[in-house]
Amino acid sequence: MTNDSPIDLLLLVRDPIDQTALVGHVREPEDGAVVTFDGCVRNHSRGRRTLYLDYEAYEAMALAKIREIAEQMHEKYPIHRVAIAHRLGRLEIGETSVFIAVSSEHRPAAFEACRFAIDTLKRTVPIWKKEYFEDGAVWADGEMPPAPLETRAAKPAS
């Protein structure tokens, strides 16, 4: 599932993430910096040895939320291009689950935008991981996305 705007590359993939392609996508002659974030599968979770992870997503909404993150990055920071890929399905220890690449003329913007992207992704994108251990499996503790305020009475139908 992909969503390519002319300048950003935003992907949900089931095969290993092609990091070289993502970096190549954002890196242009006018750039002085490319910052990347490589989120990888850790071999332990709260003292227990992890065997592997299984990711699932509300794919259409997840891609829409990743697109919003990219838009916010362009609004907030003087950056050039963004590439974000999140992998779904079973991932082994050490594999990359999420990869982000950001290019900019000067490095501060790319660093800050990349940090914003991963922090926001972890709070707002509907993706879930199940952690498999030797003695069972659990859905990882997640973060509650910011929910819209409740109104006392529902708005009338239009």
């Binding site: 989120g39 990711y55 699932e56 997503a57 509300y58 259409a60 909404m61 997840a62 829409a64 999140h86 689950s97 999420v98 991963i118 992704l121 972890k122 709070r123 707002t124 994108v125 509907p126 993706i127 879930w128 991981k129 199940k130 859905w139 990882a140 503790d141 997640g142 973060e143 509650m144 996305p145 910011p146 929910a147 819209p148 305020l149 409740e150 109104t151 006392r152 009475a153 529902a154 708005k155 009338p156 139908a157």
Partner: protein
């Protein structure tokens, strides 16, 4: 315009542990036009008490956007109950 008692059909999606509790990823239900998302969740909670226990940690969505539980539902809407997210 809706007449209030008119019945409409909406699509409901379940993810993560909710999918395991309900035993299906997707459902299609009829309910009165304009019913709030909360009323739909209450129906599922009655059928699956374990689901109801998660209510405080869930966020609702309508048509792939986070939505308040009071949001009224209309024909063709796609609703999901989202557990805390853990991507990355």
């Amino acid at each position: 315009m809706s007449g209030g008692t008119q019945s409409v059909r909406v699509k409901v999606l379940f993810f993560g542990r909710l999918k395991e509790i309900v035993g299906q990823a997707e459902d299609s239900v009829e309910l009165p036009d304009g019913s709030p998302i909360e009323a739909l969740f209450t129906q599922y909670g009655a059928k699956h008490p374990e689901l109801a226990r998660f209510r405080a940690s869930l966020v609702a969505s309508r048509n792939q956007e986070f939505a308040a539980w009071s949001t009224p539902l209309h024909s063709g809407d796609e609703v999901a109950f989202l557990p805390p997210v853990s991507g990355g």
